[in-house]
Symmetry: C2
Subunit: 336 residues, 2 copies
């Protein structure tokens, strides 16, 4: 684009808006649906049950080891669809830009968003850009929305956990949030942790290939694993019992937690999922997960019980018991 | 909600986030789909062709005569679906809140968003909230996305205008932007203009009831009528000829334009549409529009011609000709 930074007029809907779209957004995101530049994107649904999701991304910093706001915003929305078992039909992306934001940064972010979309096998088919004055936003916020088709015979919802189900976790927890904390450099901590930011839809496809009888899927983002387990226990009105020993945490992540007094069970992830699966299908689902690159460290961490509905009991490493509550107060703002 | 203003922890994904959703968002927006609080909303599509759209709303001020950011964000997205002939299946709303934003204002905005959804006959079925630090946003930004079903036999797209088609406008132009300018009070202008902000889907239903042979629909928002006509001429590679005399502008709006040196053809509207319709169906579509409260001032303003593709000729009141270009530079930032 000929301007090296964003002007207020890039948001005015006139010639400069057209230039922003034609010279910057379309070169990265172009596809036959988006290029129509109509008021909505036209999609065709192979099934009749649809999933719709939206998320605002305000992560700080915009670039971090393992990703950036572009990759994060695409993966997060694809993952929210995948947690309903839905295959993405199309993604809509809306950009709120601060006047003066560097075009070069926007290009990197769009390139990264596009690469993540390709990884997930989907496309950005609708979009919007707005520009606000200097000091009225923090560089760039992206809201991505997605619509997906739920395959026949799939019914995955937070309220579907049943007594006896196995609880499976797809890998070590805390990488994304620990990575963001280190990238901010606020605590003069040394070292780097890569965010686990990744699209989980192909992993979910592999799991559904093993069994369509998956009851619940959740990606433990803000609030972490503990909060997601608590939400499942509450939505399904069941108890959960999980083993601390089975939950993996990388040593670098544990190091960050030890220094800052954080609990890794409350750290956000952007490329992990929790699955609640009937006991008789658990082995084959777990095996399908382990065969996928994004699920190779998958492990059963507990089970659903009839007792203590709405409560999550953690059996600690030293044999004690701890009640897992949802995240209380703030841990760290703007991690996604 | 017990807090009278937004805290950073309301965005953390833990207990306070749950409280924000349970005590503030759900009381306004609750419905069986949203209340599941799953990662995506499950919808059922009666047809197989879907429309998907998204828009960020950064309007300033948040409250203005005739509406507020809640009403605007709902109407704008319903209208983008309607411009493809699509009936809304569900709306997703994402909120970026500035720390310290007053809960009372958020309640008014949610109430207004809900009322507009009822007017349009749709619901917010998915949502997200994020909170950024003081000074990192300007109160509240909302991004709304919508998915809609396109009825069988309907094919409305910007590229479908054909030689001989009539161009119809649903009423006077410029009300929304003139209303926002006056509400800001930046120019010590007196008077009030009501924004025309309204959901147009029922008007479009009435038009499709008269004839499914509508070629193009566009709502002239940012960039105004002139920019939208230019976009249609370019997407369809046709020429347009329109009569200035047929285009209505309220005297209060004309007054604002005269004082500030603005052209009303470039002012944003949020409750008007332009329709391009085959000549033989124009009369019955126009008649259906006039019978609807939001289209009672509808009028044919011109036609599609084979000559000068990509160009819009305006026949002026005094009999001259003027080429309508898209909006150049910025007219006024943050009007939607």
């Amino acid at each position: 684009m000929k301007n090296s930074s964003i002007l207020i007029a890039h948001g005015a809907g006139g010639q400069l808006s057209h230039e922003l779209i034609a010279e910057l957004f379309l070169p990265f995101l172009e596809n036959p649906v988006l290029s129509n530049l109509d008021d909505s994107a036209l999609l065709t649904a192979p099934g009749t049950r649809l999933a719709l999701t939206t998320d605002a991304y305000v992560v700080k910093p915009l670039f971090f080891p393992g990703g950036d706001i572009g990759r994060l915003s695409l993966c997060g929305t694809v993952n929210d669809l995948a947690m309903m078992g839905a295959a993405p039909l199309g993604i809509a992306a809306s950009f709120i830009l601060e006047e003066g934001f560097a075009t070069e940064k926007l290009e990197r972010i769009l390139g990264s968003l596009k690469a993540a979309a390709e990884e997930a096998g989907t496309e950005v088919v609708a979009g919007d850009t707005k520009v606000v004055e200097r000091g009225k936003a923090d560089g760039l916020f992206i809201t991505t929305s997605g619509v997906g088709a739920v395959p026949e015979g799939v019914d995955i919802q937070g309220r579907n956990a049943r007594e006896g189900d196995a609880v499976i976790l797809s890998g070590p927890v805390g990488d994304h949030e620990a990575g963001i904390l280190l990238a901010r450099g606020d605590f003069s901590l040394k070292g780097t942790v890569l965010s686990d930011c990744a699209p989980l839809n192909h992993l979910v496809d592999a799991m559904l290939g093993a069994s369509k009888e998956i009851h619940v899927l959740r990606d433990p983002t803000r609030g972490g694993l503990a909060t997601v387990l608590w939400e499942i226990a509450n939505s399904s009105e069941v108890g959960l019992e999980v083993e601390e020993e089975a939950i993996q945490v990388r040593s670098e992540v544990m190091g960050v937690c030890d220094l800052l007094g954080f609990d890794p069970l409350y750290l956000a992830n952007e490329g992990k999922l929790v699955a609640v699966v009937p006991e008789k299908h658990a082995e084959k689902v777990l095996s399908a997960m382990k065969s996928h690159p994004l699920g190779k460290s998958s492990v059963a961490i507990g089970r659903v019980v009839a007792g203590h509905p709405g409560r999550v009991h953690l059996k600690t490493r030293i044999g004690g018991h701890r009640l897992l509550e949802p995240l209380s107060g703030e841990q760290f703002p703007r991690i996604c």
